[in-house]
């Protein structure tokens, strides 16, 4: 199964933000690969670096943020080796992104059709109006919006419909990788579910890989085949999503997340949450960034940073799993 070709290869990526108190490492030595037609989830809390990573992949980092090391390849091409012109042709044709706020991702003074046409024309200069109209209709069918909404403006659409339009625009040039940054966070549960179902359906039909970014653990593990969990700019665990639904051999942070959310089904489970607060990137704890909140922390955790290592079927960055007995989790 892993014989498939990688679409996205991130190697040792580091991203920093300049701040008055010196550079802040938002993404720290992250490596991740996504294969053709695969959905990989990226889970983390605010400030964990998950969105920064998405922007880095799209080469959209601006202002005070910059890549300090590592490489990003999409279909074998180094994203940061492209000239400005090449990048313009490459972006959206090979990699596209769905942003969190569909409300602001669309241009309020353009109709749905104009926005789709705009995207197509910027890549295919000689596309005829008829071709574009046909493509736009296909896309709306795909995301199941009535074709009459081609003439609608964003304010005439509901939140769910807007997000569907944004998805349609993301896939209009048939990219091989689509990054979705919290695409359903602002939506109601029912709308969220129907959009996720649709994403899966479209993905199967049109075939592209997805990097799905979210803070919602249970949602991601239902959608993705593999999930990377980020904490303070690092991937602390990378595992198959089936394994993540059960407690077992996990990074203590993952264990914490598993027990932090009330569940629908399990009766009388005491939810615990994780003590302490999410880390402040400016004053990151020494060693393993999670150690001040970790129940299993040892002296070593405060000094030495653990590396991501293969542990069973997962990859975990934790000293507990390295050359020691596996701890007994409840």
């Amino acid at each position: 199964m892993t014989e498939r070709k990688p679409v996205l290869e991130i190697e040792h990526l580091s991203v920093a933000y300049d701040s008055p108190r010196g550079p802040v490492q938002a993404v720290n030595d992250v490596s991740l690969a996504i294969y053709e037609e695969e959905i990989v989830g990226l889970v983390g809390e605010s400030g964990s670096g998950k969105s920064t990573m998405a922007y880095a992949i799209m080469r959209l980092l601006k202002g005070v943020a910059y890549v300090t090391g590592g490489s990003i390849k999409i279909n074998g091409k180094d994203v940061y080796g492209l000239s400005k012109q090449e990048l313009r042709a490459f972006r959206w044709a090979e990699m596209a992104m769905v942003f969190q706020s569909a409300m602001s991702a669309l241009n309020p003074v353009m109709t749905v059709e104009q926005q789709i046409a705009d995207t197509i024309r910027s890549h295919q200069k000689n596309a005829s109006s008829a071709e574009i109209r046909k493509r736009a209709e296909e896309l709306l069918d795909l995301v199941r919006i009535d074709r009459k909404h081609l003439k609608s403006y964003p304010h005439q659409l509901s939140g769910g419909m807007k997000q569907r339009v944004v998805i349609a625009i993301a896939i209009c040039l048939k990219p091989s990788l689509v990054i979705m940054d919290e695409p359903t966070t602002a939506l109601d549960v029912v709308v969220q579910r129907s959009i996720l179902d649709q994403i899966q359906e479209i993905q199967r039909e049109v075939k592209f890989a997805i990097l799905f970014i979210s803070h919602d653990f249970s949602l991601v593990s239902e959608l993705a085949s593999r999930v990377a969990i980020m904490y303070a700019g690092r991937v602390v665990e990378l595992a198959g999503s089936r394994r993540l639904r059960v407690a077992g051999e996990h990074h203590p942070y993952t264990e914490g997340l598993l027990r932090a959310i009330p569940r629908l089904t399990a009766d009388d489970v005491v939810i615990e949450g994780i003590p302490g607060n999410p880390p402040n990137l400016v004053e990151l704890p020494s060693g393993c960034a999670f150690h001040p909140r970790c129940a299993h922390a040892t002296e070593r955790c405060a000094v030495e940073e653990p590396r991501l290592q293969k542990t069973g079927q997962a990859e975990i960055a934790c000293h507990l799993f390295q050359g020691r007995e596996v701890p007994q989790h409840v």
Binding site: R193, G273, N277, P278
Partner: protein, 321 residues
């Protein structure tokens, strides 16, 4: 003590004027809603945006004045009180808002946030005031207190800010708290802490809660009873466990199916994804346009909330017949 509940709401209606095609009409985000909350009880109010849940919360706080219907708090009518009486009422009822970034004043320290309600409503000064602030902050887990007191909201994380909001709500010694999505904007790892804190407060002070949320899982965890709303009407209400085990209303079933965390995924039981019609002229069941079991009766006649058992009520023609 009598058996009367702390809060009893009867036939509550809130209507808002809107302009449609240049003509003034009315919508009813809350349409003849009745419920009650006992002392020390948590009623979870679940629904999607536009269901009227926040409007109910605001009416309970009397940020809004209801159009008709009654709100009995401690057997006194508070639905239309004004002036001194309203201020008195608000010392018994407080609200925790969704956004802890917007509900605190950025230029005031945490201490100042607590000073104001304590001075105004409890007439505390000097040493007594100081001690009360300390004990409030300890209670919500914001220790070391001395450090927290002099901080500004921007120096705190979302979870800590929500704790300040809770401490501020507690400052006036309320008996009833309206918590409007208090955890939905917080990071996953600290949500549980806030839920636990609210649970402790409920036990300790026999506080009553109206817990407004869109998340059935947390409603089940924190709520003693769950009330499901759609289009301004109560669709179903039952003890939390009972509701999740035996959801009878098609809308509750839809919500449940859409909530992540099931072992197996099933297709969503809905026929369209139109938002609810809130117009006053609406006829029939508000959920009819999305309901897979819809009949001719549903489009004409509004189902009444009927008790199936002592603690389980449903408003659906399918169930009541």
């Amino acid at each position: 003590m009598s058996d009367d509940p702390l809060l009893r709401v009867d036939e509550l209606v809130v209507r808002f004027p809107i302009k449609a095609n240049g003509q003034k009409t009315f919508i009813r985000p809350v349409d003849r809603v009745s419920f009650f909350i006992r002392e020390g009880e948590v009623l979870a109010l679940v629904g999607e945006s536009g269901s009227g849940k926040t409007t109910i919360g605001k009416a309970m706080m009397r940020i809004l004045e209801p159009t008709s219907g009654s709100i009995l708090f401690d057997q006194k009518e508070v639905g239309h009180v004004r002036g001194r009486k309203l201020i008195d009422y608000r010392t018994s009822v407080q609200m925790i808002f969704q956004d802890p970034f917007g509900s605190l004043n950025p230029v005031r320290t945490i201490e100042q946030h607590l000073q104001f309600p304590l001075q105004k409503h409890q007439q505390l000064r000097g040493q007594a005031l100081d001690e009360r602030i300390t004990s409030l902050l300890e209670q919500v887990g914001l220790t070391p207190v001395a450090e927290t007191r002099i901080k500004y909201p921007h120096e705190l994380s979302g979870g800590q800010r929500q704790r300040v909001a809770i401490a501020r709500a507690l400052a006036v010694g309320p008996r009833f708290l309206v918590a409007d999505e208090p955890i939905s904007m917080l990071d996953v790892s600290i949500r549980a802490g806030i839920l636990r804190l609210m649970n402790e407060l409920k036990e300790q002070y026999r506080l009553a809660f109206l817990y407004i949320t869109h998340d059935l899982a947390s409603a089940r965890y924190f709520g003693d009873r769950i009330m499901v709303m759609y289009g301004g009407k109560i669709m179903e209400s039952a003890d939390s466990r009972e509701l999740l085990r035996r959801p009878l209303h098609p809308y509750t079933q839809l919500l449940l199916a859409a909530t992540p965390g099931h072992e197996e995924k099933q297709a969503l039981p809905e026929t369209s994804n139109l938002p609810p019609n809130l117009a006053e002229s609406r006829k029939g069941c508000p959920f009819a346009s999305r309901c897979p079991h819809v009949t001719a009766q549903c489009e004409q006649e509004e189902p009444k909330l009927e008790e199936i058992t002592d603690s389980h009520a449903v408003a659906c023609h399918l169930v009541s017949t």
